[in-house]
Amino acid sequence: MPDKKTPKLDELEHGPWPSFVTEIKKAAIRNESAKDLLNLLERSYDDKRGHWKHGGIVGVRGYGGGVIGRYTDLPEEYPHVAEFHTMRINAPSAWFYKTETLRTLCDIWEKHGSGLTNVHGSTGDLIFLGMKTEELQKTYDELSDAGFDLGGSGSCLRSPSCCVGPARCESACYDTLALCYDLTNSYQDELHRPMWPYKFKFKMSGCANDCVAAIARADCSIIGTWRDSIQVDQDQVKAYAESGLDIQGMVCDKCPTRALKYDHEKKELHVIAEDCSRCMHCINVMPKAVRPGKEKGATILLGGKSTIVQSAFLSWVIVPFMKMEPPYTEFKEMVARIWDWWDENGKTRERLGELIYRLGMTKFLREVGLPPVPQMVFRPRANPYVFWPQDEIVK
């Protein structure tokens, strides 16, 4: 147990929600770094400010990223967190683990670091939180031997992540886990050796519910969808009706395109197929009765990211429908063209979305060779500032 008093943090051991302070204390029993982290954190709680210096560059051989260097600004007082780096470990698709896999990780981490982790980081990596510089390579070597690898950091591809998809969800329109694994392995170089203007993130959701929040956070979002019509099982509709579900109110009236007509008499639900926008709502409310269509694939969206610098961007549609089956050739060829274009045109620290916004979708589409379709926009331009290429005007 830590020698210093941590009254503020102790306060956070009360209450019903599990406490990270208790977790740090558990680690502190065996680990000096964890102990100093606790003390340093108490100090931050007193000072109302962080006590970490601007990150430094540390790493492991062969990799340009995967480690976040971190040093305290009070090394004399808290010597065991003088170096306190984190390592990002690329997690398996959809965060499935065998207990033995996790135990292997725990064992390695017990040997080399603080014993503290984030399961998982916001990008989806499993994080080893806090180790000394000298432990980095050793930790990596053991991880690698045990079948693990680093995740991304820096101006590179970040670790792709995906929703639980077909592994445990009836709505999955393509195999998110397979795609995530395939892309991660196909792009090892892009993932581990930063060489772009800035970071790039892939996230994959099996349907428009977007359970990995891809549209908000990924430069490239791959969202499962279908091309034909939802499938309705009228027997199940009747069952829902009889169980008391207000089908008109909770399903039809909330359908954004008013594509659903409920026949109260017959207890039947009918869809105007061409009006449905595949938003998933009716399927969500009546999963037993309504299912996605049969012709499945994905919508590709580009440009999502958070606030820094030009404002947050949500990903927008770039390909309304693409089949998503191995070896994903069409997708990968497109990605290659997009990366080339970004690499060629992007300024330092300019995310893809900001770049397309700056140079214009028109230029992007033309140079990357994607056909413009109305699905790309909510509505056409309101200004008349159309650019006419030389070959379309009369000389």
């Binding site: 306060e11 956070l12 209450g15 019903p16 929600w17 599990p18 990270f20 977790e23 558990k26 709680y45 109302k48 400010r49 962080g50 006590h51 601007h54 990150g55 051989r61 306190f84 398996p92 698709s93 959809a94 683990y97 065998k98 207990t99 896999t101 996790l102 981490w109 014993g115 503290l116 982790t117 984030n118 399961v119 916001s122 989806g124 939180l129 070597d141 079948g147 693990f148 690898d149 077909p166 592994a167 445990r168 969800c169 009836e170 694994y181 991660t184 428009a208 519910n209 977007d210 908000a216 956070r217 909330k254 954004p256 998933m280 037993k288 958070s306 606030t307 610098v309 949500l314 330092t348």
Partner: protein
């Protein structure tokens, strides 16, 4: 030397047999009780997932503990969700109740499923990062303690997704959450000229400022900050340690609400600023927990069934949100950045 670029473990080897067996053949799901999902496959198999809230910052002891539980009840298989909850994957229905009992006994919170509050997606804060305006784990703990009851329920108007990020980099989906808790700086960076001279690339630093507040100062071989223009995004600090942005007296928290990510019903949308500043008041940040609770309860009391926070507000109007919550509206709520124009009310039709 160990190999490089081995890639992550193959997920296929980590799936429980029931999943391998029924992969892609799930038919529907039910929520038999708070915190539990029952997925039924075309073949008639049923998989029970028991969801448990985790603090995310966990020790290896914690991991070993949940592994022990997974061994007892789940044949050694478990997963984590995209919001950092643990999911125990139970293929034997008989084991569900015993697992729940043991979890309860050990104080693991069960919930976050269906129309519930789920775990708060969050970031490093004072635990590890260099730019935080606040702590992350501490606030998350305080807010989850306070809103605990809603984690184990399934009768909220809709899902409730709360996120927390400790600075404007927003490492998470804070910008698109029902309720977002965001660490904010409020004073311009203090330039350490010495450090600048020691290795900052001045043109890159100047270019990094979204408002053009940083000017080169060739005489001093450094830069000057036009404080009138700075809005404390901290991007300059990310570029250079010389741009000291932490300010214990003025750093604190902003609350944004009404964002979402799913495409169900309505398009994904941004969270919007409703409380520009609350003070850092560790360890329990009472101003923050009270503000979040107040917003959540106003939603609970006013929203219709099925309405996410943002859908509710868009129906009643943001002007009504401010009058209902009695949160004061100030000039700080009005956008003055690049895409401000789309937020201006270009119609004479509004409520009071």
């Amino acid at each position: 030397m160990s190999k490089i670029d081995g890639g992550p473990p193959d997920y296929k080897k980590l799936l429980p047999p029931i999943i391998t067996e029924n992969y892609g053949q799930w038919k529907y799901h039910e929520i038999p009780r708070a915190g539990v999902l029952k997925h039924v496959s075309e073949k008639g198999y049923a998989l029970y997932s028991v969801r448990v809230g985790s603090p995310r910052l966990v020790s290896i002891d914690y991991i070993r503990d949940i592994c022990a539980l997974a061994d007892s009840y789940c044949d050694g298989y478990l997963r984590f969700t995209s919001r950092n909850n643990v999911e125990f994957l139970v293929s034997d229905e008989a084991k569900v109740e015993p697992l729940i009992k043991e979890l309860e006994a050990k104080g693991y919170p069960i919930g976050g499923v269906g129309n519930a509050l789920s775990n708060i997606v969050h970031t490093q804060g004072w635990v590890h990062c260099h730019t935080p305006a606040t702590d992350a784990s501490g606030i998350v703990k305080a807010v989850m303690d306070d809103l605990y009851e809603y984690f184990g329920r399934t009768d909220l108007p809709a899902k409730l997704k709360v996120a927390m990020a400790c600075c404007l980099n927003m490492c998470g989906a804070v910008h698109c959450s029902d309720v977002a808790i965001l660490g904010v700086h409020r004073t311009p960076p203090r330039v350490d000229h010495e450090k600048i001279r020691k290795g900052t690339e001045i043109p890159t630093l100047v270019a990094a400022c979204p408002t053009g507040a940083i000017r080169p100062d060739p005489k001093n071989k450094s830069v000057v900050v036009n404080e009138e223009r700075c809005m404390y995004c901290g991007n300059c600090y990310t570029m250079s340690p010389a741009m000291e942005i932490l300010d214990a007296k003025n750093d604190g928290i902003a609350i944004l609400v009404g964002g979402k990510v799913s495409n169900a019903r309505t398009a994904p949308s941004f969270s919007r600023l409703v409380i520009p500043f609350l003070p850092n008041n560790p360890p329990r940040w009472p101003e923050v927990t009270a503000a979040v609770r107040h917003i959540v309860e106003t939603w609970l009391n006013n929203a219709r069934k099925g309405e996410r926070v943002g859908e509710w507000i868009e129906r009643i109007g943001w002007e009504r949100f401010f009058s209902l919550t009695e949160i004061p509206f100030t000039d700080k709520h009005i956008d003055d950045f690049i895409f401000s124009r789309e937020t201006f009310r270009t119609t004479a039709a509004f409520k009071y």
